[in-house]
Symmetry: C2
Subunit: 317 residues, 2 copies
């Protein structure tokens, strides 16, 4: 019987199928410490690391029996995939169940940043002046504006679908240009990265975190954005120079931002926490109980599919 | 030359066409006091009252020359339309330019309330504990849920369009059932008011404020909603019993609310201001500078259309 190590506490019923088939160890409540994982890993064929657990060469070297690392997320920058490939360890991710909730949160942040939902809510609660008049404390329209999507994969497209129905035009940049029928579905225009930065009213980062996309949005890129631009990041914090973003927001070089991810989670740059023109969420892209259950199921199916061929497996190597 | 009285300060350029054709009085910055309006109104053929200025029998009796009251909003509960009709005064509103921004804000509040955008933003800024883990502080999905729209006019339909693209199913209640092709466009199912309350996951109020809709959502209606229901109001505050709503939220009889309008604006019930499961906006349904300009243009066109037939006039009586 294969042995499965889960480094964090999931609801047991959401991985019931794993318990039926394999010998599973999962902590009751808290995430496992790295030392504990290193100690136990030599006996396990399957590792299920949390997205905040860095699965590197050391873990894989100790995990002499490791056959599959089943990631509980679509982004897998928490795993040294190249090293896994070298060791012959399969890495899987969960692109299906993470897509809609993440696009949903990206759009929630976009609307909140543009229409100043966080700002209004805070000011009203703090009994600070809010202008109820015609023009004061006005927000930015979404309808009629251009959304630039950086990374037009599943999530980018799910975001585009929402944006089009809300009256936005779509431009996008992607490693590869999309097929014509997909472009037509969203009326999406493929543009260079530079053109996207210069012409979009709203810019959403939906690309994967890779060595190539590290700090892809820094001072230079921010300086190209329109003064009224709104920037949304629900991808990964290390793709953005957080200090440069905070400066651009403070100096009103861009209009607003909506952020779900940060360079040093769960820490957020203190500069961001005091700005009125940013809306902040705690890496909550897929944070609903229903979605987290669906994600667990997809993650479990990757493992069972790998061993039994019963389900499709989303391999990343 | 017709004389036009504007009771509040709009940007002059947004009503430039009025200045060209008529003799316009508009205050420089602040709203006019009621006494001042009463004093001046006998000389004016046209009145443009702000949505917070109650245009009642007294105003109309003094306004012996009044021919048209051109409202700067789609809702016109600030005007005694029955009395205007009796006096032969035409009342107009602006349904076109207010539709998309209001639906946009309703959807922003829906997403924010469901996915807890206001709560997250506040907690992170206040350095209070936020659970970054798998299940803690989780929100409610929007995708796959049922949206119940009360009042399926222009705004309700513009909201439905956004919701459908975000994976929601639509049920609605309306004075009159919509034509089949409109229902089909949104896959919208007509249901009784009671069925809507009992079965919707999200409920949005988009009906006009009339004597019939006064306090249409009170303790009884709230008690019929699902314990996980999210309630959105961007219509008018007097359609909801605000104290009953605050109680239902506090006692978690419903899950959350997103509110843009209140019973005694700009005052908000203090009970609401301390609740974590509500998102509050300051009657900002159309609050963007661009939209407010477009609204001014539509409002002006109602007047010019009335006198010159050059534009379509949106009369409410």
């Amino acid at each position: 019987m294969k042995k499965v190590l889960v480094t964090y506490a999931l609801h047991k019923e959401s991985i019931a199928e794993l318990y039926e088939k394999y010998d599973v160890f999962m902590p009751h409540d808290k995430d496992m410490k790295r030392e504990q994982v290193l100690e136990m890993i030599p006996d396990y064929e399957v590792l299920i690391p949390n997205f905040s657990f860095y699965t590197d060469a050391e873990i894989m070297d100790k995990g002499v029996k490791l056959e599959i690392i089943s990631n509980y997320g679509v982004g897998y920058n928490n795993i040294d995939v190249d090293y896994a490939t070298k060791k012959g360890i399969v890495v899987t991710n969960i692109p299906k169940t993470t897509c809609e909730p993440t696009a949903e949160l990206a759009f929630a942040l976009l609307l909140a940043a543009g229409r100043r939902i966080g700002y209004y809510d805070r000011r009203l609660r703090e009994h600070k002046a809010v202008d109820w008049g015609v023009y004061g404390d006005a927000g930015m329209p979404i309808f009629g504006k251009t959304l630039g999507i950086i990374g037009m994969g599943r999530i980018g497209q799910a975001l585009a679908r929402r944006a089009v129905a809300s009256g936005m035009s779509i431009i996008y940049n992607n490693r590869n240009r999309l097929a014509k029928d997909i472009e037509e579905r969203y009326g999406a225009k493929y543009v260079s990265f530079d053109e996207l930065l210069c012409t979009a009213d709203y810019i959403s980062l939906n690309a994967p975190s890779t060595p190539e996309t590290l700090k892809m949005i820094g001072e230079n890129e921010l300086s190209k954005m329109k003064p009224k631009a709104v920037f949304i990041n629900t991808a990964r914090g290390n793709m953005v120079d957080e200090k440069a973003l905070a400066r651009a927001l403070k100096e009103e070089k861009i209009w607003a931002a909506g952020l779900d991810v940060y360079e040093n989670e769960p820490k957020i740059s203190p500069e961001l926490l005091v700005l009125d023109n940013v809306v902040l969420a705690p890496h909550a892209g897929t944070k609903t109980v229903e979605d987290r259950h669906k994600m667990a199921e997809e993650m479990v199916h990757n493992i069972i599919g790998f061993y039994e061929g019963k389900y499709e497996v989303s391999r990343v190597n």
